[in-house]
Assembly symmetry: C2
């Protein structure tokens, strides 16, 4: 029986505030280059006041992935919390306008926290350094998980960043149980090395107990297994999860599945803004595996989708991804 | 005596909502290509719901001009009204972060209207078609005009779009009187042919009575004098205003001053998004004339600034304009 959704994603619903800056600004403001750090509202206001003119684009890691799948015509839905405010309306609009379902009711106007936002500082090398005020996105709980929707998902896609939410574990458990009991599969992205440090045990438990597919990049793969040896880490991951995909910047993406290992070469691109590269890789990969493609082809699709999004400002696709797949001979 | 400001601008404070679309969408939604139409809040909500994923960037015609002057290091300030909401905070931040003064207090949270926004639909040819919900920006009145600030301006720069506000005429009168009595000069941009149709008499009176400098494009120049003959219209304008600058797309900019007439050639550019071309032309021109350059060089500076902003999405400069002036041998 065909399920209603190919992929349902759960993540932190954020609007990105993108600003070009230099490395000195990162140093002066104590921002670790290339990482994501959580900040509170006071720090968000202070940092924003120091930042240059910015551009606002809907973001959120899993939401970017879901938007990418929707842009490819996939049947997809997103679960994440915004407030009934202007940024929340922007976030909801952009997902729905892309063709994804998004039905989580916004927190009311008298809710304490606002819609979350991510200050994305882009340095001349194209690297992005993120300071995230989670706002109301932090409070997504099990009551926000629609068990019926989860049962209608071929794949559930979980964002590792969500481990920072106080009720996130209960929410993930409910989602996983509902999806699994209806025969669905579960994927997770490790999201960020520091997030792994904060919640290592929970990540490790989920990897062993719940996953069919693990997404990560090189730094996250080394961090989760506490080793500098990528091959050793990849080997352990492959013993724990059916399919493992580890992006490795310009080296491409390592794919381990069914006892085999491939390297899908990166698509050469001028990096304008690396924001969303991993998110769109996951979009391309998930679209591939839900449309009859094997993991190697799916990884090539992920690389093409990632190359599109790093070629411009913002983490949502702008070009026609399907056309790019045709150009690359993937469809 | 050196004045505090080289240019003070007054306009509608708006956040742009930019979306790529096709010509069919414009037709289906009754949007006139290349123009600006005013819409109410219901229509804004309805239109936004039909639009694709969008990007938010601070806009507003005169605000774009002031941001451009600030980006060049000019001493400048802006007068326009936002609400104390998220879009208002974005608008204020982007102007101040660019180096412009912006001191108009936002309308309180219980104000009826929100911060204004402009839905900018960009077609594949780079043309932009705008649907503007003025929101609280409409209600800028004489009480919002700081006479001291106006007296501290070498140039007052007025946005023609503001003629649509109910109290705009009184506000403009107060600003002009304060600026003039302290020896300042007054510039106006005609903004839009339909806006001229709505307020033709008021525009004509201001041109004859108050202006030292008139900005417009070809369509506006023909509209204001009700003639299809550009040379005739330019001639009449030059008899009424000391300096007249009329942009004419790829033909360049016509400059009439001191009984002479020049054509400043356009800078060839790939048009990505024409939004802000006229605004940044005015920025480059005003920076030029307030930094010791004659009107012909100032017009060349305007053309370079315009070429930068049409090369990317959004109406605020992203590249280093001064560096571009050096590249073009203008400074």
């Amino acid at each position: 029986m065909t399920k209603k959704y190919q992929v349902v994603g759960i993540g932190n619903a954020l609007v990105d505030v993108l600003c070009h800056t230099d490395d000195a600004f990162l140093t002066e403001n104590g921002i670790g280059k290339g990482t994501m750090q959580l900040i509170d509202r006071n720090r968000a206001v202070d940092l924003y006041g120091r930042m240059g003119p910015s551009v606002e684009v809907s973001g959120g890691s899993a939401a970017n992935t879901i938007a990418g799948i929707a842009a490819l015509g996939g049947r997809t839905a997103y679960v994440g919390k915004v407030k009934d405010d202007q940024l929340g309306a922007i976030f909801a609009h952009d997902l729905r306008a892309q063709g994804a379902d998004y039905a989580v009711p916004p927190a009311p106007q008298d809710a304490g926290a606002e819609t979350g936002r991510c200050m994305v500082l882009v340095t001349p090398d194209g690297e992005r350094s993120m300071s995230t005020y989670l706002g109301v996105s932090e409070h997504l709980g099990p009551e926000d998980i629609d068990a019926t929707m989860m049962a209608e998902a071929e794949w559930l896609y979980l964002e590792g960043y969500r481990f920072d939410g106080p009720e996130s574990h209960a929410a993930f458990e409910r989602a996983i149980a509902s999806c699994r009991s209806a025969g669905g599969k579960v994927a997770l992205t490790l999201s960020d090395p520091f997030c792994i440090q904060r919640h290592r045990d929970a990540f490790r438990r989920m990897i062993v107990d719940d996953l069919d597919l693990l997404f990560c990049n090189r730094a996250e793969m080394l961090e989760i297994y506490g080793t500098p040896d990528l091959d050793a880490a990849l080997g352990q991951a492959a013993r724990e999860v059916e399919t493992v995909v580890c992006t490795d910047s310009e080296n491409g993406a390592h794919v381990l599945a069914g006892g085999e290992r491939w390297l899908a070469p990166a698509v050469p691109t001028q990096i304008v803004d690396a924001t969303g590269a991993g998110d769109l890789f996951a979009a391309g990969f998930l679209w591939g595996v839900t449309h009859g493609h094997g993991p190697m082809t799916a990884a090539e699709m992920g690389n093409v989708a990632a190359s599109e999004v790093i070629g411009h400002i913002g983490a949502r696709p702008e070009a026609d991804l399907m056309q790019l797949y045709r150009t690359h001979g993937l469809v």
